[in-house]
């Protein structure tokens, strides 16, 4: 399959597909971060995570509309930052509400949370369809995010892609620091390890649960913001990503942040490179097969801590 291309063409194909993979990687990482935090913290598999991401995308879309119709054009360039912050807080608030009204009654019943969040995802999809219509919507990128940066004659990288990646790095580092250093992070890790014991040393586990769930959803909202730059937003767009994101979380080892990043990288790169040469579904089959085989050899995922229990 490589025979039809010259060496120079192959290099640039790999470079550009690799870069496209990096954008996919960014969305995966942001989605998986939230999912892994929620799953690791309370064992809840949030099937509605993709819809939380799309909520962030719609918030971004609305913000961009408000900016273009009510505010002077000179401000349009900065809409994305406002949208991101709004997306974080709106999805986070919805997450807290969902945790308070539904999830907290279903702890210790993993199957029921699975069903409840899946139902929630259907409700949210229908809401999007009723409010925003079934058509996909897109945002107009501000000028400074348009265009691409030519590295060589054949290799060009889009500026919005670079931006999304930098954003992902900043958020990942911030989340990592928060989990390692902040008080909430330490409390979260204590609750993850041993919930009744964490309560018995004075941690309000219910509050920690609510905050973590909100944080996980909030990060999904930011993922949604980033998503508007690389794809168009529709009611069911979130579903396309949720399976891959689960794959990333399980493959990386649910308790490890580095694992999540590494597995997101592997999976997104493998997919995007193979997609160019094979068909999209064939690429997916190969990725899934590889992941299944690796998980059979290392059931706890790529990265896990070894110590006395």
């Amino acid at each position: 399959m490589f025979a039809d291309y010259t060496m120079a063409e192959l290099t640039s194909i790999f470079a550009m597909q690799g870069f496209a993979g990096l954008i996919l990687f960014s969305v995966f990482v942001l989605m998986a971060l939230g999912l892994a935090i929620i799953f690791g913290q309370m064992g809840v598999i949030n099937m509605a995570h993709g819809e939380f991401m799309i909520l962030g995308a719609y918030v971004t879309y609305l913000t961009s509309n408000v900016f273009s119709s009510y505010l002077p054009e000179s401000l349009y360039g900065s809409y994305f930052f406002i949208a991101m912050i709004l997306a974080f807080f709106v999805t986070g608030a919805l997450g807290a509400l969902v945790e308070w009204s539904v999830i907290r009654h279903l702890y210790k019943r993993p199957l029921d949370t699975l069903l409840a969040t899946w139902g929630l995802s259907l409700i949210m999809q229908q809401l999007y369809r009723s409010i925003f219509g079934a058509r996909e919507v897109g945002v107009t990128l501000p000028d400074w995010l348009m265009g691409s940066y030519a590295i060589t004659d054949l290799i060009e990288v889009p500026i919005n892609g670079i931006f999304v990646m930098i954003l992902t790095i900043i958020i990942t580092v911030a989340v990592a620091l928060m989990m390692q250093k902040s008080r909430l992070g330490k409390q979260t890790r204590a609750v993850v390890q041993n919930r009744p014991m964490a309560a018995a040393v004075g941690i309000n586990t219910e509050k920690v649960d609510r905050l973590t769930f909100a944080l996980g959803c909030g990060i999904a909202g930011i993922a949604g913001s980033a998503f508007t730059m690389v794809g168009s937003t529709g009611p069911t767009a979130g579903q396309l990503y949720i399976v891959d994101t689960f794959l990333v979380v399980v493959f990386g080892g649910a308790s490890s942040l580095i694992g999540t990043v590494a597995s997101a990288f592997t999976i997104s790169q493998a997919q995007s490179t193979m997609e160019f040469f094979l068909s999209g579904s064939m690429a997916k089959v190969l990725t899934l097969l590889t992941v299944v085989i690796i998980l059979m050899l290392r059931p706890e995922g790529l990265f896990s801590l070894k110590m006395r229990r």
Binding site: P196, A199, R308
Partner: protein
């Protein structure tokens, strides 16, 4: 100061603790002895709120704790060192102690905690899971003390710990009592440890207190009879 009245705990229909009445004074060290399955751990877990109580009340300095959740009990002044230590094994020693600071709102670990357990200061940055059993026990005690409790509950602290360290632990617990004015309630199976550290010995059998004597009057043989299988 710490009182149980008509206290009862049950798993479903089966009563484990029934009509327990106990009053522990300030700065007192009480050892609760009993064979396996007599309800010691159940009593301890229910006192910290991990298991709900069925009947009666628990009060600390006149405050009723019966309806409080675990973390509220900790804020009210109860510290808990569970059986099997249950430290957070993937977190470092200092992070483990910091989790205990949650209810006090402090940020820094008080230095006198480390002076009680110098080993922990040396191993601050190690993961809790990589400590030896005795060190983990010290860590669990330090974590409980970080919340500044007025009553400290220890559930079988000598389990799986070598004899020389058990002696040292008795000394440390007495030191904690005098330094920090803490009431200590410890459940035990090792009689020598209990006689070594406690002011008062209780024997619990089938969820009831069958013996309650000051340590000076405790007769080894009678108690051994209760403890032997």
């Amino acid at each position: 100061m710490f009182e149980l009245s008509d206290y009862g705990v049950a798993y479903g229909q089966s009563d484990v603790i029934r009509d327990l009445n106990l009053s522990v004074g300030k700065n007192e060290i009480v050892a609760i002895l009993g064979r396996n399955g007599m309800g010691k751990t159940t009593l301890m877990k229910s006192l910290i709120g991990m298991i709900p109580s069925k009947a009666g009340t628990v009060t600390l300095n006149g405050k009723d704790l019966s309806d409080l959740k675990s973390h509220e009990r900790v804020s009210a002044g109860v510290g808990f060192v569970p059986q099997g230590r249950m430290i957070f094994s993937t977190m470092t020693v200092s992070e483990n102690i910091e989790t205990g600071l949650t209810s006090t709102g402090e940020k820094k670990i008080p230095t006198d905690l480390y002076s009680l357990f110098p080993v922990l200061d040396e191993m601050k940055h190690r993961r809790g899971g990589n400590l030896s059993g005795g060190q983990q026990q010290q860590l669990a005690i330090a974590r409980a003390l970080a919340s500044n409790p007025s009553v400290l509950l220890l559930d079988e602290p000598t389990e799986g710990i070598q004899p020389s360290i058990i002696k040292e632990m008795a000394r440390t617990l007495k030191q904690i009592r005098t330094q920090r004015n803490v009431t200590i309630i410890v459940s035990e199976q090792v009689l020598s440890f209990a006689l070594d550290m406690a002011d008062r010995i209780l024997v619990i059998e089938k969820g009831k207190i069958v013996l309650d004597v000051p340590v000076e009057e405790a007769d080894q043989q009678t108690i051994t009879k209760y403890l032997s299988v």
